[in-house]
Symmetry: C2
Subunit: 406 residues, 2 copies
C-alpha cells in the first residue's frame, strides 16, 4: 500500500502527504479491490489530480461474447483509458467479468443491478438478498468499484413521479431498481441495506460509486427536482461511506446545457463533501446522435475544468447500438481530449508539457516527433501513409504554401 501511494503521488506530481490527506478527507479515491493490489496501472481519482477516463465495455443480452469484450478491454487500455466498467447483461456475465478482471491492468467497475437481473426469472421474484449477494459476489471476485443506485429510494421516486420529466428515467441500472420497487412495493435494497454494502465494500476495499439513477437524459430535465433530490440522498450516503472508511465516488449527468454545467458540478461537490465526481458527458445538446461522443466531450471538458474528476466516455454508438471495437477507440480518445483540455485549464504548467513538445515538433515539421507526442500516434501514421508529405515535409493541405516553411 505504501508503494502504491508513492507511485501514484509521483505520477500525479503531488506529495504523499497531500495524497494521503485527500484520501482521508474522501476527496480522492483509489478504486482497487484488495485482491487486485498488484495490477499494473492503478489510479487515483479526485481533488487536484489529473482527470481520469473510464471506458464502458460489456455484452448486451443478445449480443457479443467474452472474446469480443476482452478485445474491447485491450483497445480501451491501449488508447489510454484509466478504468474500465464491464456492463455485461447476459447469462455469461460472470465468465466475461472473470475474464476482464484477469486481464485488466486498470481498475474494473461493475453495476451490480445488472448482475441481479442476470439471475433470470421475473424481476419481482428477486429478493432484497439477491441484490446484496451480487455485490458480495462481485467484491469477492475482485471488482474495484461498483455503481450502486442507492439514491433511487422511495422518497426520491416520489419526487420523480410528481415531476413532469421529458426524458423520464434513462439510467438502465436505476430503472431496474425502480421497476423492482414498483412491482414488489419494497424499498430499494441498495438504500435500505446500505450498511451491509458498506461492510462488504470495507472488507474488500471496493470503492462505491453512487449512481445517479435520476440523471437528466434530456436538456429539458437538467437540474430538475428529481435530479437534485437524488443528489441530496447521495450526499448523505457519501457521508456514511466516509464514516465507515469506505471510498466513495458520486456519479453525475447526463444531458446538461453548457450554462448549467458549472452549477451541477459545484452542487455535487458541495452536497457530497467534495467526493470525486464522475460524469457521463454531460451532453450539451440532445440532437447529436451518432456524434454524441463529441457533444459529451464539450460538456465533459467544461465539467472537468470546473471540478469534475472522472469522465465516463461516450462513443459514436451512444443512443444507437452497443459499441463496437472502433467505437471504443474513438470514445476513449475523445474523452481524453476533454480530460486533457480540463487538465491544462486547471494547471497549465504541469499539463501543457506534452503539448509544447508537439507544437515544437509541428513548427519543425518533424512528423516522427509529432507521431510520438500525439494522443493517437496511429492516426498520424495512417494519415502519413495515405497522404505522404512532400519533400519539404509540408502536408497536402498547403503544400509549398505551408505557413511553417521559411
Amino acid at each position: 500500500m505504501k508503494n502504491l501511494l508513492i507511485k501514484l503521488a509521483e505520477e500525479e506530481c503531488v506529495s504523499i502527504d497531500q495524497l494521503k490527506d485527500r484520501i482521508t478527507r474522501g476527496t480522492v479515491a483509489i478504486p482497487l479491490n484488495k485482491k487486485r493490489l498488484n495490477i499494473e496501472k492503478p489510479c487515483a481519482i479526485g481533488e487536484g489530480l489529473s482527470v481520469k477516463v473510464n471506458a464502458n465495455i460489456g455484452a448486451s443480452p443478445d449480443k457479443s461474447s467474452a472474446g469480443d469484450e476482452l478485445k474491447k478491454l485491450e483497445i480501451a487500455v491501449e488508447h489510454g483509458a484509466d478504468t474500465v466498467m464491464d456492463l455485461t447483461i447476459g447469462k455469461n456475465w460472470k465468465k466475461i467479468l472473470a475474464g476482464v478482471l484477469e486481464k485488466s491492468p486498470i481498475p474494473v467497475g461493475t453495476v451490480p443491478a445488472y448482475g441481479a437481473v442476470c439471475l433470470g426469472g421475473d424481476l419481482e421474484a428477486l429478493g432484497s438478498d439477491d441484490f446484496v449477494d451480487i455485490v458480495r459476489q462481485q467484491a469477492e471476485m475482485g471488482v474495484d468499484f461498483m455503481t450502486v443506485h442507492s439514491g433511487v429510494c422511495k422518497e426520491v421516486v416520489k419526487v420523480l413521479e410528481d415531476a413532469d420529466r421529458l426524458g423520464g428515467m434513462v439510467s438502465r441500472g436505476g430503472k431496474i431498481i425502480y421497476r423492482w420497487m414498483k412491482r414488489t412495493g419494497k424499498e430499494n435494497p441498495f438504500y435500505e441495506r446500505f450498511d451491509e454494502l458498506l461492510d462488504i465494500a470495507f472488507e474488500h476495499n471496493v470503492t462505491l460509486s453512487l449512481g445517479d439513477g435520476l440523471r437528466p437524459g434530456a436538456l429539458a430535465d437538467a437540474s430538475d427536482d428529481p435530479q437534485y433530490a437524488e443528489l441530496k440522498v447521495l450526499g448523505e450516503l457519501a457521508a456514511r461511506c466516509r464514516d465507515r472508511g469506505v471510498q466513495v465516488i458520486i456519479e453525475g449527468p447526463g444531458h446538461v446545457p453548457l450554462h448549467l454545467i458549472e452549477e451541477n458540478v459545484k452542487m455535487a461537490k458541495e452536497l457530497c463533501g467534495g467526493a470525486p465526481f464522475y460524469v457521463l458527458g454531460p451532453l450539451t445538446i440532445d440532437i447529436g446522435a451518432g456524434y454524441d461522443h463529441i457533444a459529451g466531450a464539450i460538456g465533459g471538458a467544461l465539467a472537468a475544468w470546473k471540478g469534475a474528476d472522472f469522465l465516463c466516455y461516450l462513443t459514436p454508438a451512444e443512443h444507437l447500438y452497443l459499441p463496437e471495437e472502433s467505437d471504443v477507440a474513438v470514445g476513449v480518445i475523445t474523452s481524453k481530449i476533454a480530460a486533457h483540455s480540463a487538465d491544462i485549464a486547471r494547471n497549465p504548467e504541469l499539463f501543457r508539457k506534452r503539448d509544447d513538445k508537439m507544437s515544437r515538433a509541428r513548427a519543425d515539421l518533424d512528423w516522427d516527433l509529432m507521431q510520438k507526442y500525439a494522443l493517437d500516434p496511429n492516426i498520424i501514421k495512417r494519415a502519413r501513409e495515405k497522404y505522404p508529405v512532400g519533400d519539404d515535409r509540408a502536408c497536402s493541405m498547403c503544400g509549398e504554401y505551408c505557413a511553417l516553411l521559411d
Copy 2:
C-alpha cells in the same frame, strides 16, 4: 434588400428594427455581394443571432479539381454549413471559384492573398497592385466575404519578431504577406492601401473579414503580445470599415486553452467595437491531431457561448492533409454541435425546441422521429440498418433492459 431583412429577421426571431440597428452599429454582418443578392440561403452573423458555421473547401497546389471541390460544397451545404470559403491555391483557382460562386446557395468567402500567389513567378516579383487587384477581381466575381490579413503590418511584425513564439506563424495567408514584406522590404498592401480595399468592398458590398495572421498556433502562444498587437490593429481597421459603411468581421484563434477563451472573446469584442467574431476552433489542446475537429468543438462551444458569432469548422484532416469529402461532412456536423451547444446556453427557450422534440421521440423510442430531428439523419438511418432495433424498439445497447421501456 428589404425582403432579405424580413427573411433573416424571421429566421433569427428578432425584429427587423433590431436587425437593422445591429447592422448599423456593425455588430451584425450579412456577407452578400451585390451580385448574389438572390442566393437561396443568405445569413446574418453577429450579436444576438444564432451561431453560424463556415466550411473551408478548396484545392491545394497539387491536389484536387474543380469537380472535387463542387462535391465538397454540396456536402457542406447538405450538412448545414452557413457559409463556405474557397481556399484554393493553384493555377485553376479562378475556374474553381467561379464554379463555387455559381453553385453555392450560401455566402462564399475567399482569402485574396492566395489568389495573389497564384499569379505565379517569384513572390517578391508581385507588386502591391497585384494584391489589391485580386481583391477587386474577386469582388467583381461575386465573392461575399474576404479574409484580408491587414493586421500583419510592419509594427505588428516587429512585435512578432521580438517575441519568443513556440508555434511561430501558422496562418497561411498571413505568412504569404509576411514573406512578401520581408523579401520586398515593403509595408503590407492590405494595410497600407486599406482605403482602396474599403472602396472596393463598399462598391460590391463585400464583407471584410480581418484575418488574424498572428493567431496562436500553439497553446503556449495564446494571448501573447503578437496576437494582441495584431488584434489592436484589427480594432482600428474595423472602426474604419464602419466609418466607410463596409461590413466587417474579426477573425480569431487558433489554439487557446479553456481558461483563456472567454478573455480572448471579450478582448476581441472590446477592441473591435463589438464586430462579429469569427474563430477557428479554438483548439484546447495541441496533441489531438486526427481528432482536432473535437478539440476545436470544445473550444468553439465555449467561445460561442461567451460571445463568438461564427465558427470556422475544423475537420479530422486538420494538421494532416487536405480534407476529403467525408472530412467535410464530419467537420460541418461537429461545428454545428458546438454552435448549437452555445445557442442553447445563450437562449434556451429559443434554441432547445428541436432538442425537446428529439428527447420526446427518444423517450417514445420513435426512431422515425429521432431520425427526423437528429442533426445528421443519415447516421441514424445507417445505424438502424446495420443494427436493427428489436421488436420492442430498444436498440442493441440494452435490449430488453432499455431504461425507456416501461
